[in-house]
Subunit: 491 residues, 3 copies
């Protein structure tokens, strides 16, 4: 910790948040790099290439509707909405950080999907005959998944980092994600259709570790901006609802054609429904007057979707899905009430959006549920063919031994955790360098730092307009003063 | 009426809106009951079960794309958006009830879909060989439909009930819905793809009757909160537009594969387009200066979708759809202008969202349109095979006699009306019990009652912040006083 | 120009914005005309008609899933969201014109799609055996495309026209669109799947020309309402994101089944992602402190989707798509910074939403990209069959000569430009007639003119409520006065 401390001291210089050179430079360099790498490596796969009609004839595919596009495109679009509107608006809850929430979310995701297409392509879609990555709609979905992981991590540091920091973080996270995904899915042969482990556990622990590395002891200087206002909470519900509604598509998007996608959608639908009821119940019981807290409704209602990710395509059974959602709604809400303050106080992890409660804990739980469900798989429940199709689609093993598969799932969970924490420490060090234009403690959670914010003439009363150069404490004193003077007038 | 009066007196005790025990208790008990009942009764159907590949071979199904999932899942997701974002945001128009609108909508729908899967399953999807309900994507759509019916009823009592009351109301309404649906669709053999009768007429009259049972003579005490503000009207337009755009999916979601779904989508698209023009026309002509009223644009533009529900899959013809939309846009808007005030004044039915204009009247009209269109069906228009596929898919009758089918449709409409009004009276009695934590008259339409509402520092001027313990009349007096004192200063 | 000047003088009479007679009259006349014309001309096509089962047998179609509905309906719904939520909310950025933005957008689009079904039907879907237009899901998509063109034009005149003017403009624009589309696609045989030329270039130049014809030299009288406020910018991001996310569906909605739709979606996805990074980069570099401007993020991020429209289904290659997006993000953002002020100052074209930067320039670029890509097509890249399927699907030519196709594409672009500018001049003259109820210069960008606007009690401080009959300059003076008086009290 001594090294960390001295490193911190080194980094605590006056902040310069002018990103006029660094942000455009990073965007241009990376976008040009993407163009070059795409030019060298990326081509259409047989289903999106103009030779598709030839391919159909050669492979005896009866109809255009058998193109993977028609199996997966509706789910892809739902996932796309989750990434850009869902995550983006979920983070607009802060009173003066809506531009940053939805705008940086947009920027990060647009970069992540490009880099993910390359990184994931090298691992999963490389055609060894010509050394090219061949992409189709499934690659687009996987790229969106990888972006989701980056946006989860963004949730932990929301309002405390610069856009340049975010892009650097994204570059490394996508790289790590592709490696971790390859290890879990292709080397360990764990299954993770909805990404409880690969996306949520990894992304959340990565983000939390970075938040720990970037801990700001004096963040209370911007505490006046850490809450929500009425309208910002309604905006956040747009994000919540689009995530909630389309989560069945998320968990089923890359499942097996046919029953796999069908079952994953049903399981997720049920788990999410159960989460809503238990999240509301715990939210009410934890408040003195039984009032509901928007933070819990915005976040904990989604926990069921995270936790059912790995097991969504398994024969979890409808009641199993409900149980998963039931437990996660409780755990996640209790996390917001009790754990988040403890994490900040004792572990010095400040978690703006509470991703520990929404992604980390439910993700780990989802990994465990997946391991148990896989270990309990039987021939009678799955049918012999179904069991092979589920756990051994590419013939990795001679035969499927469910208990062994359960062990592989558990191993996958450990890999995700290690990559999250380990990667977070390394990338956190890089992000602490004082060159990325991060905001000073008193400018956190404030769109003014990185955005041209319109003068909000309507909602600022005239007295304040006259004095809008005053800030913070001066302002409050002035308010009290003004009110007193008027009080006197009334006498 | 004497009994009702004395019962009312009994119920008019001081209100306790603390739901800290009752809300969590209801949520937990019901969610646990759901888990147990799902465990006993609900399994995957052949298209979502891991035995699907076996099933395919046995039934000679050529491809995975023939799984019902691919026919219906895109429509299901659109319906899902309508239920959670559409209905939720449509109700956010009140200035301080957006949390309640979108949050309780979420809670009610999440509970309704679970209980509906069971209730509808017993009637429609019970496999008599093993006593299990077998669910697939069509069940999810039907559960969402049932939730729609509950949310329509919520529209009538929006802002005037507690979340516990809502959940109790939903429990009973789902139960009644499943019975009513079974009678109309399976016993009477009426057709109702888009639910003009089953969903809208039933839901609306159920809600209106409950609103009548819960009539509050002194509701003007919260009249200051009954209107909208600028931003809340824009939020409500999100709901309106998602309902409007996805209504073609709603009406076609469970139609017959092929031309049935295709035609239902076209008819609904056209009917809705016509509604927009006539709603705008009547809205303008009814105002002194020809200005448009947001309430009409938010609601009456949707009436065409309601009214074309039953007949959507029939050969209504494109111009027929336009005529339905044309009439409904007019009727619904006139309802808002003239009928809603009368209903409240003379029948003591207070209808917060105006569901009588959006769902009740267009629903009844839709039932009539359906009956007429069915009665006019001919072999030449439908083809012999088409007529059988439409009106006699399961061979209920020896041959299809259109005029008889018209009568069955009319009978179905009557059943929906009777269930709505009758069920509403019974459930209304239950909801009047003084144990559900409903708000006092002066606390209606106020999120403060059941939600932790953030201090809205930005939009409250400093003078009010200093005095934010003052309420209502005191506040207004104070405002005048303050303004006067400043006026004096200006002299 | 002399004639234009005297005509202008003629039109500059005191404005009467009461549309109580004209708006309902126009809506009713046109809706009734639609019903009559639909009754005479429009019927279901074989895929949406009840004879579909007969048709299937006759044409040996193996399954219901081969119905075009299942190929195109998910894309159609995405396009539908773009038209109504995407365009509607994109225009809500003005502080007091959100009702007009989203409401008139709704009205215009609902009318445009009906008239487009007829106009496009006569040109493209007329069944010469019975003189009827036969419609299916592809017609609905094309009608939505035509509505998009009208809404682009609306962007140029947003806040400066009356709803009656808008409806008249839409009537003419749809008519011109159908003719222009027929010339480009059917006579010239250019390809334009995503409508860079047919939709965007035409719509944008049509709108800009009308804005020039309706130029208001004294528009600075409503300059206080020309900006955004914090929340209106967040609402606009809803529009931006739904446009951005669903643009792949827009460009692929009417592409060829199979690889055509698949490839168009991939190309658009990539081009849009690249636009986001370059738009953000240029936005930051053009501001003194490197801050991002919401106007650029809301609009220029979409330019890549416009510019890849024509070439989306071609073998543009993934890197080609990135290059298109890269360039358009730059050009569009630079347009907002430098060109828009010049256009207004020197050419007297006031462009409220900056459609010149978002639709006109990227649209022209898209046409050029399409021409170049078509001219470079080779047998080896497309396969012989693919080349024919792409450029000669109906056997217009004996053989496909790519360089000639490139020329045809360029000719198509010229036609779109001519129709846009020429049509705009003619329709602009009509719209200058002083009978359409357009607002006075000082009432532009103000919802009060055509909407019942709720009293915004919460965000108006009490002092202003007391004085809410004061307006504009009086108000500002009063504010200063009040603040001064309080300042004195504090001394």
């Amino acid at each position: 910790m001594g090294t960390v401390q001295s490193f911190r001291a080194l980094c605590d210089r006056p902040k310069n948040t002018n990103v006029r050179i660094s942000l455009p430079a990073v965007c241009f360099v990376w976008q040009i790099a993407m163009i070059i790498l795409f030019g060298v490596f990326i081509r259409y796969n047989p289903e999106s290439d103009a030779h598709w009609q030839d391919y159909r004839k050669q492979n005896n595919i009866s109809s255009n509707i058998e193109n993977d596009f028609y199996y997966r495109y509706p789910s892809f679009q739902d996932v796309h909405v989750m990434i850009f509107v869902g995550f983006g608006f979920l983070m607009t809850f802060l009173k003066r950080y809506s531009f940053g929430a939805v705008g940086f979310n947009f920027l990060v995701a647009a970069f992540a999907i490009q880099w993910a297409l390359l990184m994931q392509g090298w691992f999963h879609s490389l055609d060894y005959t010509d050394g090219k990555i061949k992409i189709g709609v499934e690659n687009l979905i996987n790229a969106d998944f990888c972006a989701a992981s980056c946006l989860i991590a963004y949730g932990a540091v929301l309002g405390k980092v610069s856009p340049v920091q975010l892009l650097v973080m994204t570059l490394f996270e996508v790289t790590l994600y592709a490696v971790e995904e390859y290890i879990i899915l292709n080397l360990i042969h764990a299954k993770d259709a909805g990404g409880s482990m690969v996306i949520h556990t990894f992304g959340a622990y990565f983000g939390l570790t970075i938040s720990w590395m970037l801990y700001r002891p004096n963040l209370d200087q911007s505490s006046r901006l850490q809450g929500s206002v009425y309208h910002s909470d309604v905006f956040a519900m747009i994000g919540t609802l689009f995530l909630w509604m389309f989560w069945p598509s998320f968990n089923s998007a890359i499942s097996e054609h046919g029953d796999g996608q069908h079952r994953a959608a049903i399981n997720t639908y049920l788990s999410l429904a159960a989460s809503v009821l238990t999240a509301a119940a715990i939210s009410s019981v934890c408040q003195k007057h039984g009032k509901l807290d928007m933070v819990h409704i915005q976040n904990s209602t989604l926990a069921g979707g995270v936790a059912v990710g790995t097991a969504a395509e398994f024969m979890l059974m409808p009641y199993g899905s409900l149980i998963v959602g039931f437990c996660c709604g409780i755990i996640s809400t209790l996390g917001y009430v009790f754990l988040t303050p403890l994490l900040e106080k004792h572990l010095k992890i400040h978690d703006t959006c509470g991703i520990h409660n929404l992604h980390a804990m439910p993700g780990v739980l989802g990994g465990i549920v997946g391991a148990v469900t896989a270990a309990c798989a039987t021939d009678s429940v799955y049918s012999a063919e179904g069991l092979t199709a589920m756990f051994n689609p590419n013939g990795y093993f001679e035969s499927v031994i469910p208990s062994k598969q359960g062990g592989l799932q558990a191993a996958g969970l450990c890999v995700a955790l290690c990559f999250g924490v380990g990667g977070g420490i390394i990338v956190g060090f890089i992000l602490r360098l004082p060159i990325w234009g991060d905001p000073a403690d008193e400018n956190c959670y404030d769109d003014e730092t990185y955005w041209e914010v319109p003068e909000d003439e309507e909602s600022i009363p005239p007295i304040l307009q006259y004095n809008n150069h005053m800030r913070n404490k001066d302002l409050i004193q002035f308010q009290h003063g003004a009110a007193q003077s008027i009080d006197l007038d009334l006498d």
